[in-house]
């Protein structure tokens, strides 16, 4: 297209824009006061994992209260701030940001709108009077599934497949390894990260390949913390006679009888609670840390995995849970020193 | 000598009264200002090998492309076996039993021979039956014509000689009775060429008609029954091969095209400017394309290099211009060795100006404005701006001055270079190369494809330049041009200089040299 073509096209668009300026689109409509909003991260709300958990929590709130909510899926970095500000501008409250990647943007926008309530999941770096930060003790839940994996393994070798190689995922891995080693100090844990880019969250083929490689080395239980990539991990485990362990949501039903359990991270509960507390006036700023004690993390039991988890395993897991809740058992959090005591 | 009578009685033709296999009547074709075929009429007898010979751009490929349906003729008609036919696509041509083997093979290299042969004749959704049928036909063809090729070999792994055989098989498989081969030996070794000729004779003896396009005289003499000579779009002669000689054909090919009326005064040669000694250049296949060439050009003289194209003249120009690095020997400019530099920019600074043979591919950059093409090679001239910057005003000023001096039309330097006619393009190149006061000017094909006006203008400028004391090396396939401009003539054949002659030498003698025949070898070098 030549320059003139472009100029004409731009001019035409501009003219049309001003014509429609008066006619008004939906974007100028203000929502009812107290309408919540959710800004999903780049994975998208149907990632079968973290973002989908948030979506489920919001949907549950919507069903119970008949209260609609605003939503936006991020496509590039600049949109984080833009979306948060858009919602704040129109008076949405509370505004929930999914994922630590939104921390910088949320910190900025929340400071500009002190009368609007904000919440962020998976980050605790913002200390503003109108921001609630919710973090999870993934290491505690991972410890329990590590314990179950070690007990279920016949080979004494288990695997872990992470998504993108970032601290959060190392935190999952570290808790898992601690659980495995505490149960069977002789066990081997294979660890692989899918990749170094955002694509690592959505690469089921590579996840499957990594899983097969681990199985070839003898692993018979494989835990994933890899978002959409995990679908491939569970599939490969199921196809090759190994057991998978799901993450975030209950993924036991993806391959009934082939998924040992799932490490639940109840982001849905967290989102639901934020929305609910804002509605009934009990919203509090500050950091909420959800661990086993608060049922923020845990392992999933249902009909699909009943046969896989024996009563002694459940007993051991419950004992460990009780010890963690009581404080007698400390699971190391990778984020405190960026080191893991066991490998 | 000119003849468009139907073929004479042919020894191998089935019947004396049989109509020609192919007859072209009054074929005319223009590409814009270029008249590629001028009213060409030609009859090709059934069961013969007919050669079409001519320089590059003589129109022979165009003529055959019309016969094969690639181009539509502006006028004229085509008859096959005496019937008028309408050929508008290669599909039509194939349906009429005409097959073509292109200079650049049209083969799918990763496919097997068999798969290539059925290409375009698969017949149906399933390839299996076609392949099975093809295998049978291929075996029969191989037996009949000594065209042995392993049908399951991967084409890309075969030597070029066998690839060419696959092309021939492809044409025969589609039922070709008339086979056109465009420059078939260009890619072949001498042994492969010999074998090809053997196959072609076999095809003829089985009643096929073969048309071979080439600019190599010895091939014509060796393999054809009859030969047509084309020059500048015209068919200038059709003769029986046994009645002619390589020298006579060479003369016809390059002969008197446009009579040049140039006043040439006596030259006053001065000091030696260019001295070439034992210059040799080998190509990537280690074939010597320029062999042991030695000569000198003095200030104030024009040395012409005559020869049929493809005999090393282009390479010689490239070597002197620094575009190729000599394999052996020296090139000296004013006593300074320049051959090892192989740097056109340095040579230009030293005073070597180069008017390339192909101005469209090299001399100008077609999408550029004229004023930008007008400084090609001189774009680093300090007079045109500062160290990094090009002063647009100075560039346009120079272009305008050059255009005025050489009467380039239209005199609009913002016009794209491609928009100028051939003659005006050549004037732009000449103006640029001459304008910077070189010591040595090397010129390739100065009047190729230029219009009548420029054909007079350009030689006159070259002579003026000579009289100003420049040394000029002129390469041309136009013998008349060489004779009317040069003070001395060197004839090249197969990369070697065959001899030096004064411009008064008669065309016949020069023709013999161009055909690679030393005068001592007379009388004739005809087909064996």
């Amino acid at each position: 297209m030549n320059k003139r073509t472009l100029l004409v096209a731009l001019a035409a668009l501009a003219a049309a824009g001003y014509y429609f300026y008066g006619s008004g689109g939906g974007s100028s409509d203000k929502p009812a006061p107290g309408t919540p909003a959710v800004v999903f991260d780049t994975g998208g709300k149907f990632d079968k994992s973290f973002n989908e958990g948030i979506y489920n929590g919001a949907e549950k709130f919507k069903t119970e209260t008949s209260q609609a909510y605003g939503e936006f899926e991020i496509t590039n970095e600049a949109q984080r701030e833009q979306a948060l500000r858009n919602f704040a501008d129109k008076g949405y409250s509370p505004i929930i940001a999914a994922g630590f990647a939104q921390a910088a943007a949320l910190g900025k926008v929340a400071a500009e709108y002190p009368n609007i309530k904000f919440a962020i999941i998976d980050d605790s770096s913002i200390t503003l009077p109108n921001v609630q930060s919710i973090v999870f003790k993934e290491e505690e839940g991972s410890y329990l599934v590590g314990l179950l994996a070690a007990m279920a393994s016949k080979t004494g070798k288990v695997g872990f497949v992470g998504g993108m190689d970032i601290p959060l995922i190392r935190k999952f891995a570290c808790g898992y390894v601690q659980g495995v080693k505490a149960t069977n100090p002789a066990a081997t844990v294979f660890q692989n990260m899918t990749g170094d880019t955002g694509a690592a969250w959505n690469d089921p083929v590579k996840g499957g390949e990594l899983t097969k490689a681990q199985i070839a080395q003898g692993a018979d239980v494989i835990y994933h913390a890899a978002g959409g990539t995990g679908v491939g991990v569970l599939q490969a485990a199921a196809d090759n006679g190994a057991l998978g362990i799901g993450v975030d949501s209950n993924q036991n039903g993806l391959h009934p009888g082939k998924v040992l359990t799932s490490m639940l991270k109840r982001v849905d509960v967290a989102v639901y609670n934020v929305m609910k507390s804002a509605k009934d006036g009990s919203f509090k700023a500050g950091t909420t840390s959800l661990g086993l004690a608060q049922d923020g993390v845990g392992y999933a039991m249902d009909d699909n995995n009943k046969a896989l988890v024996s009563p002694p395993m459940i007993a051991a897991a419950d004992a460990a849970k009780a010890a963690i809740v009581a404080g007698t058992l400390q699971v190391h959090d990778y984020m405190t020193d960026e080191k893991c005591p066991v490998q | 000598m000119v003849s468009d009578r139907p073929a004479r009685q042919d020894r191998s033709a089935p019947g004396a009264s049989a109509p020609p296999a192919v007859e072209l009547i009054g074929i005319d074709k223009r590409f814009g200002p270029v008249h590629a075929n001028r009213h060409v009429s030609l009859a090709i007898a059934k069961g013969s090998i007919h050669g079409i010979i001519g320089e590059n751009g003589a129109g022979k490929s165009t003529l055959m492309s019309i016969l094969f349906g690639f181009y539509a003729a502006d006028a004229g008609e085509i008859r096959v076996n005496g019937r008028k036919v309408d050929i508008t696509s290669s599909g039509d041509a194939i349906a009429q039993g005409i097959g073509m083997v292109h200079q650049h093979f049209m083969l799918v290299e990763p496919f097997t021979v068999l798969e290539n042969v059925v290409l375009g004749a698969e017949g149906g959704a399933l390839i299996g039956p076609a392949l099975a049928r093809a295998r049978g036909v291929l075996e029969r063809l191989a037996r009949d014509y000594e065209l042995d090729v392993d049908p399951d070999a991967i084409v890309g792994t075969l030597p070029v000689g066998l690839q060419q055989r696959v092309e021939i098989l492809k044409a025969l498989f589609k039922g070709a009775d008339v086979l056109i081969l465009d420059e078939p030996t260009g890619v072949l070794t001498p042994n492969e060429a010999d074998h090809l000729f053997h196959i072609l004779r076999g095809l003829r003896d089985q009643g096929k008609t073969v048309i071979i396009i080439t600019h190599k005289l010895n091939e014509i003499m060796e393999v054809t029954d009859r030969v047509s000579v084309m020059r500048r779009g015209e068919l200038v002669a059709t003769v029986d091969t046994r009645d002619t000689s390589a020298a006579a054909l060479a003369e016809l090919m390059v002969g008197r095209s446009v009579l040049l009326e140039v006043e040439k005064g006596e030259g006053k040669p001065g000091a030696v400017v260019l001295a070439v000694e034992k210059l040799t250049w080998r190509d990537s296949k280690n074939v010597a394309r320029v062999k042991d060439v030695s000569f000198a050009v003095r200030a104030g003289e024009i040395v012409g290099i005559a020869g049929v194209s493809g005999n090393g003249q282009s390479e010689l120009l490239d070597l002197i211009a620094g575009l190729k690095r000599p394999s052996a020997g020296t090139i000296r400019l004013d006593g300074q060795e320049i051959g090892h530099l192989a740097d056109p920019a340095r040579l230009r600074d030293l005073g070597v100006a180069h008017v390339p043979e192909d101005r469209q591919a090299r001399g100008l950059i077609m999408p550029f404005e004229e004023c930008e093409s007008a400084i090609l090679g001189w774009h680093d001239d300090p007079a045109l701006g500062s160290a990094l910057w090009l002063d647009r005003g100075k560039v346009e000023g120079r272009a305008a001055a050059d255009m005025a001096a050489f009467d380039v039309r239209p005199q609009d330097c913002h016009l794209k270079s491609a928009k100028f006619s051939g003659g005006n393009q050549q004037k732009i190149v000449l103006a640029r190369e001459i304008g910077r006061d070189p010591k040595l000017l090397i010129v390739g094909q100065p009047t190729r494809g230029v219009d009548v006006g420029a054909i007079e203008f350009i030689p006159r400028r070259l002579l003026e330049l000579r009289d100003q004391g420049k040394a000029i090396l002129l390469v041309s396939v136009e013998l008349d041009e060489i004779r009317s401009l040069s003070d001395r003539i060197l004839v090249m054949f197969a990369g070697e200089v065959m001899g030096e002659r004064p411009p008064e030498t008669d065309e016949r003698e020069l023709g013999l040299l161009m055909a690679g025949v030393q005068p001592g070898d007379r009388p004739e070098a005809t087909a064996s």
Partner: protein
């Protein structure tokens, strides 16, 4: 009507009618898509245009996006002129972020204007290096530039995640990003939008590109090599040298995008800040016919589609972000790739009366 050779339409048809027809068709097809998913196309169009052009904030976001696309578009355009297809703008911009961040975080002892200048130069230098290496491989080793630049995008992604994760990320911080760059930044023009002084840098870069290509000896050589390598060799130009220099310039232009993102918007080095702008640059350069003015205009059009698209999916959750990509793609298809598709129809319309 004047008698005209077939194919030569009146000037105003070429410059006004054909683009207008293309635009209308693009919008009609996009509207059809919107209709299929049960939304009102006119309303959607209104939101899209108003989102980008109906407010100062919309304009500023559009210009912010256009700034990125101008840089990456110019990078691709310069390489095009030398006959090179630089697919690596994404990686070049990404690595350039390293230069900007290093200067921003490491030169706090210098006065900020000097540090800022060094930061901009460092971004260009890192981008240039990331373009130069594939250029070198093409010129000296014959490795195809398309392949190597694609590979260098991957290498850049892995290198950057490693460096940010292990070197730049403050301990204990979950997000994979460097600490905030406080010492230097480009002036934010219309807070809170991300539009910053880099937009002027983009204008300057467009002017520089034009000047380089059409007013310098190097530019002449670049265009000669691109238009006809054989003629360039005849002229004494060394294509290998030109290829390497051109790729370095191309990388430096792409690298300026990092200045916008790292020093102008995020004030920190974050993962994948290039966000695909390097690839959009290819479409921008193609649409802009590799001319700097065309690139700027195409970048504005893409900026409009990005900003308007975001507003559209914000206002209409049913029109997902994937739908927005489809609509953007349709506009590119009709305005760029199928630009001449309606020409024959219009030509028939204009010439019919003559023949009758």
């Amino acid at each position: 009507m004047m008698k005209k050779v077939h194919g030569e339409l009146p000037h105003w048809v070429d410059t006004a009618l054909i683009p207008a027809v293309n635009l209308v068709v693009a919008l009609l097809v996009a509207g059809l898509v919107v209709l299929i998913i049960g939304e009102n196309p006119l309303e959607a169009l209104g939101i899209l245009l108003k989102g980008a052009l109906g407010s100062v904030r919309g304009w500023s976001y559009m210009l912010y996006y256009a700034t990125n696309f101008t840089f990456t578009g110019l990078a691709v355009a310069v390489a095009f002129h030398a006959g090179l297809f630089n697919i690596g703008g994404e990686g070049q911009a990404y690595v350039a972020g390293l230069g900007a961040a290093l200067a921003g975080l490491g030169l706090e002892f210098l006065p900020w204007p000097i540090a800022l200048l060094i930061g901009i130069m460092a971004a260009m230098a890192f981008g240039a290096l990331w373009g130069f290496i594939p250029g070198y491989l093409q010129a000296r080793r014959g490795s195809h530039i398309v392949i190597t630049t694609i590979m260098f995008n991957f290498i850049a992604a892995s290198l950057m995640v490693y460096l940010i994760n292990n070197w730049f990320r403050p301990a204990g911080r979950m997000a994979v990003e460097s600490r905030e760059i406080t010492h230097i930044s480009l002036v934010n023009l219309l807070p809170p939008s991300p539009l910053n002084a880099a937009v002027f840098l983009a204008g300057l870069a467009a002017w520089f590109t034009w000047y380089l290509l059409w007013r310098t000896r190097l530019g002449y050589e670049i265009r000669a090599v691109g238009a006809n390598p054989e003629a360039a060799v005849y002229a004494g130009i060394k294509p290998q040298r030109v290829i390497m220099i051109t790729m370095a310039i191309s990388g430096a232009l792409a690298g300026l995008m990092a200045v916008n993102e790292v020093l102008g918007v995020h004030h920190r080095l974050i993962l994948e800040f290039a966000g695909g702008a390097g690839f959009v640059g290819i479409a921008v350069a193609l649409m802009g016919r590799s001319h700097p003015v065309g690139v700027v205009l195409a970048a504005l059009l893409f900026g409009l589609l990005y900003q308007g698209g975001a507003e559209l999916s914000f206002a209409k959750p049913a029109i997902t972000r994937d739908m927005i990509v489809v609509i953007q793609g349709l506009v590119i298809l009709f305005m760029g790739a199928l630009e001449q598709a309606f020409r024959p129809v219009l030509a028939a319309f204009f010439f019919a009366p003559e023949k009758a």
